[in-house]
Point group: C2
Chain length 353, copies 2
C-alpha cells in the first residue's frame, strides 16, 4: 500500500491470539518476555428497543488495569524486568488488540435470549514509546506517522466482514475515565453503524453533505473559525454542546483518511495537534478531552454524504470545573452549554500557535 | 384540583419576577428578608443539524452557587441572618424558578442569526426543609407529598403554551455535577420534545407501547425484576446501559402522574425511594445518580404510546469506580456496560427492604 511506504509494518501474534502491529523500526522482545493474557468474559450486545440502539456488554472489563505506576505501564517497551503489551524492547508506534475490549469476536455469551453474540474489535494505538507527553508534545514527523497508522487501521479493519464502522478516537485524562497515562488512542471496529454516525448520514437536505453545509456556514460567519490549514479547517460549531468544543473538517468532501494524500493526512493530523496544544494552554493544565473521528462506514454501501472530520469534546469549562452530563443530557438528550461559541472561539483563537 | 386537597399551596413572587410555590404549612419570611436576584445573561437555543437536536445556551450559569457551606445553603429556610431562595422561615416542600436556569423565557440574546430565543422554565424542587438527608431518608408521608408536588408541577407547566415537555428529574452527588447538597430535584419545561422522549414515542411496533412491551418481557423473564408494588414494577432492563440501571414502570399503561390516583402516586414514589435506598446499601456509600421521569409530552397532541416511567442512571460501578461516558458513548452513541443485567439485578434484589 503506497501510503505505508515510508513506515514499515511488523505483524505479531500474542499467545492468546491477539494481534500486535509495530509501525516503524523496532527491536525484538527481550528474552523471557511473557505476554499478558486476555481474560475470559461475557461479550455480547443487546438491543434497546426504547432508543433503538445496541448496548455492548463486556463483562470482563471490571478488572482492567487502572492507573498503574510508571514502572508497571503496559504501553511502554518491554524490558527484562517488565513484560508489557508490546513484545518489543523498542518501537516507534504500536497497535494491539485490547486485552480488556468492549467488542470481541470470540467471547463467551450469557446464554440470555435477549443477547446477540459480540463481533468486531477494539485496538489500542500507542503513539510513542515515551511514557510522558501526549498528542500535544509529539514531534511533527511522529504526528504524520500517527496519521499513516490511523489510515492503515481504517484500511485493515474495513476489510473485516464483521466491522461495519471504524471508529478512531482518543480519551485523555482521568476525568474522562482514562486508566492509562501513556499517550495512546483507540480504534473500535463496530459490527453495526453507531447512532451518532447514522444520525449524521441521515442529516442534510436532499443529497447535500451536512458537514460541507456546516463548514460553509462557519466559513461565511468566520467568527468561530480557529484556523485554516491545507487539509483542515477548525472551528467551534455554532451549536457547540461542550464549552470549547471544536470540529476539524477537511475542506474537500472526502469520506475517509484513505482519500487524503499523505501530505493532506499530515496536515489534518497536525491540525488536531494544534487544537490539543491550544486546549492545554487554555487553563494552563492538561485538558481532559475526547477526540473522535467520523469517517465513511465500512459496511460496503456507498454513503455519499460521509465526510471525514474530527470532533473534540473537552471536559473543562474553566480551570477547576468540569462540564457534567447530568439529567438533561442523559435523560432527555438535551445539552446545556454555559458558554457562547463565539466567545470560546475567540479565546481559543488567541491560543493557536 | 382534588389531588392537591391535602397539601395547601402558597404562590409567591420574588422581586425579580421568579415564582416560588410553598406546599404545606409555612411561616412567612423573617423581617429584613432579601431575595436573591436572577442575573442577566444570554438565553437561547441553537440547532445542531448534524444530530437534529436543539442545544440550550445559558451563558449566565458559570457563576452559579457551588457547594456552599451549610450555613450558606440557598435551599434551607430563611433566617434573620441568612436569606435563602425560600422566602419562608419554615416550610415543608418548596418549588422555585431557578436563579441559574438553562431555559428562560425573558433572557437576553446573542443576536446571532444561528440562535432562536429561549423559552420554557427551570424549577428547583426542595424536598424538605432539612439540609441533611436525601430522597432515601424522607418519611413515607413526605415522599407521598413529593409525588403530589410532582403531579402539580406537571399540571401547572403543562398549561403553559411555551412548554411542550415537562421533565422531572433529580441529579444527586458531586460526581453528577450537583452543586448543592440539600435534598432537591428539578423540573425543566422544555419548549420542544427532547430527543430521548421522541425516540421512545417513535419506538414500538404498530400502535403498541414500547414500555408495556418491555415490562411484559421483563415480567416473563422475571430474572431482572427487583420488586412489584401496587403502582410500580422495578427492574434492571435487559439492555441496561449503566451498571445497576433501574427502570420503574407503572403496570398500567398510564401516560402521566395526573392519571394515577393519589394512592398510586404514593406507591410509585415510594418505589423510587426503595430503589435509592438499595443503591445506598449497595456500596455502603451515597450512590451518585440521575433519576428521570418520562411522561406524556404537553404539546397538545395525543401521544397514545406515552407511558409514565422512571429511569435511574447510577454512576458507580463499584465502591470506588465511576462509569464514564467516554469516546464510544459520547462520540459514537454506543454504551458499554461492564456488568450483566441479570447479575446486577440479583445483587440489588437482595438489598431491597
Amino acid at each position: 500500500m503506497p501510503a505505508m511506504s515510508r513506515l514499515e509494518r511488523t505483524e505479531l501474534r500474542q499467545p492468546d491470539g491477539r494481534r500486535v502491529t509495530l509501525y516503524g523500526p523496532h527491536q525484538p522482545a527481550p528474552p523471557g518476555y511473557q505476554a499478558p493474557l486476555a481474560q475470559p468474559g461475557i461479550y455480547e450486545r443487546r438491543w434497546n428497543p426504547l432508543r433503538r440502539e445496541w448496548v455492548l456488554v463486556a463483562a470482563a472489563r471490571q478488572g482492567r488495569t487502572f492507573l498503574p505506576v510508571r514502572s508497571r505501564c503496559p504501553l511502554c517497551p518491554s524490558t527484562g524486568e517488565h513484560s508489557t503489551e508490546i513484545p518489543a524492547r523498542a518501537f516507534q508506534l504500536a497497535v494491539f488488540e485490547n486485552r480488556f475490549p468492549s467488542l470481541r469476536a470470540d467471547g463467551d455469551r450469557s446464554g440470555r435470549p435477549e443477547a446477540v453474540a459480540s463481533a468486531g474489535v477494539c485496538e489500542v494505538v500507542v503513539y510513542t514509546p515515551e511514557h510522558e507527553g501526549s498528542l500535544a508534545t509529539l514531534a511533527p514527523e511522529r504526528v504524520a506517522d500517527l496519521a499513516e497508522v490511523w489510515a492503515d487501521r481504517y484500511r485493515v479493519l474495513a476489510a473485516r466482514p464483521d466491522v461495519r464502522y471504524v471508529f478512531i478516537f482518543e480519551n485523555r485524562g482521568e476525568a474522562v475515565g482514562v486508566t492509562l497515562h501513556h499517550p495512546h488512542g483507540q480504534v473500535y471496529g463496530y459490527p453495526f453503524l453507531p447512532p451518532h454516525a447514522a444520525a449524521e448520514l441521515r442529516a442534510g437536505s436532499g443529497t447535500g453533505c451536512p458537514i460541507c453545509a456546516q463548514l460553509d456556514r462557519e466559513r461565511r460567519a468566520a467568527i468561530r473559525v480557529l484556523f485554516r490549514a491545507s487539509a483542515a479547517v477548525a472551528y467551534v460549531p455554532s451549536f457547540a454542546r461542550w464549552p470549547y468544543e471544536v470540529h476539524v473538517v477537511t475542506p474537500a468532501h472526502l469520506p475517509c483518511l484513505l482519500d487524503l494524500s499523505r501530505s493532506a493526512r499530515r496536515s489534518f493530523a497536525l491540525a488536531l495537534q494544534r487544537v490539543v496544544r491550544a486546549y492545554d494552554r487554555l487553563f494552563k493544565t492538561t485538558m481532559p478531552y475526547m477526540m473522535v473521528l467520523h469517517q465513511r462506514p465500512t459496511d460496503g454501501r456507498a454513503h455519499p454524504r460521509a465526510h471525514l472530520h474530527a470532533e473534540f469534546y473537552p471536559l473543562l469549562r474553566d480551570r477547576a470545573r468540569l462540564k457534567y452530563l447530568a439529567g438533561s443530557e442523559s435523560g432527555a438528550g438535551v445539552f446545556i452549554n454555559d458558554t457562547l461559541a463565539e466567545e470560546t472561539a475567540a479565546r481559543l483563537r488567541t491560543l493557536m500557535a
